[in-house]
């Protein structure tokens, strides 16, 4: 464990925690501008969070500790993921603690906590949202792991820091067909995991079309703030991960000094910004898919992942 790594980890957790709502605000702003509106400004999610934290908490009658604990578990796992992934630095001291599979598992733990909370309310919409969310999560899983497989084969490691570090050392890898296929597969995964269009519409008010929103309809005040913040953190971390897996330049490593860490921070912030703007821009052109069309999308991305693995093998070892 290096001091630079530890500092980088603290830096990236703090930056994600503070910056995630801004990413969401920025994406809303991009969407607003493309729709011809002026928009609420990129800091609006922080204003919303600040206000929600000062509001009253309402405990719906009949809910159990699961409902009360779920936001904290969701936020806790999201923070841990933010500490593990190579966003600012590849040398996070937690990197050996959790590899790609553990990170995917932690994401799923947060999702499961929220679905259980949705069921716990005992309302029809809570159960409906939970059922849909779990269905999507179950079908996303193969794609994530197969795409992760494609990325970890050339590096002989599934630890994210090592994968990113290896790509920095061998830039040609990014342009390989395997990496591109894996990128496409992972991009679909990020969209599905974070409930963006076309899998889920984050701005919908119609309960019957909801997935993520339906589970949190009963939350108020501080707990609601925590859930929205954690959702933003998950989106930001996944975007940062996607960015650094395929465009790793600038990321700090175990030997970086203060300047290196700052460069790493700026680099990842810039990359996330670009990815977020692109994602928001593409969303304007998309309509939400019917729920039963989503499996087709995910099956397609699974095939991309599978192709990525096989090409990575056949290109690496011809014959």
């Amino acid at each position: 464990m290096s001091a630079a790594g530890a500092a980088g980890m603290v830096l990236q957790v703090a930056a994600t925690a503070a910056g995630a709502p801004l990413v969401v605000g920025g994406m809303r702003q991009v969407r607003a501008r493309l729709e011809g509106r002026a928009g609420a400004g990129w800091a609006q999610p922080w204003r919303d969070l600040r206000k929600q934290l000062g509001k009253q908490r309402i405990d719906p009658a009949g809910t159990t500790v699961v409902f009360a604990a779920a936001p904290f578990l969701l936020a806790g796992t999201s923070l841990l993921i933010a500490a593990i992934v190579p966003a600012v630095t590849t040398a996070s001291p937690l990197d050996p603690v959790g590899d790609l599979f553990a990170v995917v598992g932690l994401l799923l733990v947060g999702t499961v906590a929220l679905t259980l909370a949705g069921i716990d309310t005992g309302t029809a919409f809570g159960g409906m949202g939970a059922s849909r969310e779990v269905t999507i999560a179950a079908l996303v899983e193969p794609t994530v792991l197969v795409a992760g497989f494609a990325l970890s084969v050339p590096v002989h490691s599934s630890n994210l820091g090592e994968i990113v570090a290896a790509t920095v050392g061998d830039p040609g890898r990014v342009a390989s067909p395997a990496a591109m296929l894996a990128f496409a597969a992972l991009a679909v995964v990020v969209v599905a995991e974070t409930g963006r269009l076309p899998v889920d519409n984050p701005a919908t008010h119609l309960e019957l079309t909801m997935v993520h929103e339906a589970m949190i309809l009963e939350y108020t005040g501080p707990r609601l703030a925590l859930i929205e913040w954690a959702a933003a953190v998950r989106l930001t971390v996944l975007l940062a991960l996607l960015a650094n897996l395929f465009v790793p330049w600038g990321v700090a490593d175990a030997g970086s000094g203060t300047v290196g860490l700052l460069v790493g921070l700026l680099a990842v912030a810039g990359k996330v910004l670009v990815f977020a703007v692109v994602l928001a821009g593409v969303e304007v052109f998309l309509a939400k898919l019917r729920l039963f069309r989503v499996p087709e999308l995910l099956a397609g991305s699974f095939l991309l992942g599978l192709l990525a693995v096989t090409t990575s093998y056949f290109l690496a070892a011809p014959g």
């Binding site: 607003a32 501008r33 493309l34 729709e35 011809g36 509106r37 002026a38 928009g39 609420a40 400004g41 609006q44 204003r47 919303d48 600040r50 206000k51 000062g54 509001k55 009253q56 908490r57 309402i58 919908t204 008010h205 119609l206 309960e207 909801m210 929103e213 309809l217 009963e218 939350y219 108020t220 005040g221 609601l224 304007v284 052109f285």
Partner: protein, 158 residues
């Protein structure tokens, strides 16, 4: 890329913001961010159309921090339109009860303020203030988006 060309051609639709109005006496907590849940207590749907206009690209109420949400649990304010009919009175009370404190109730339109056009109707219980406490009112039948946004801005202070 027909849509892309349309976006380029149209550009910004939102009209320039009018000068900021005086802040109202609403709770200071909701300054800058006001999530709204709309309740139709018995309206003729004229007010709804104007509310829809408020959040359209032309008026863009979102730039002042107001936003429509799906659940009163998430909301700070209720937009109540129309007279309170007998069938909707309890629903209105429940919705206010479901909204966490601090909250504002905004009566939109003459019907909501004083029964307007429908005063004396057999199904009418009364204006909104007879059923729940009202914090702000938007006069007019129907009120224009500009008038509604004026009141919203008084609450959000933006």
């Amino acid at each position: 890329m027909g849509l892309f060309a349309a976006i380029r051609r149209v550009g910004r639709i939102a009209e320039p913001a009018p000068p900021r109005p005086e802040s109202s006496a609403a709770p200071t907590l909701v300054r800058g961010s006001l999530q709204l849940r709309h309740v139709d207590a018995g309206s003729c749907n004229g007010c709804e159309i104007e509310l829809g206009g408020c959040f359209s690209p032309v008026y863009d109420a979102e730039r002042y921090g107001a936003r429509l949400v799906a659940s009163p649990r998430h909301a700070d304010g209720l937009l109540v339109t129309g007279v309170v009919t007998r069938n909707m009175a309890q629903a209105l009370r429940d919705t206010v009860e479901a909204t966490p404190q601090p909250r504002v109730v905004i009566a939109v339109g003459d019907c909501a303020r004083n029964c307007g056009e429908f005063a004396g109707g057999y199904g009418v219980l009364g204006p909104v203030s007879d059923v729940v406490a009202v914090d702000a009112e938007v006069p007019g039948c129907q009120p224009t988006p500009t008038e509604i946004i004026h009141v919203l801005r008084q609450v959000t202070g933006r």
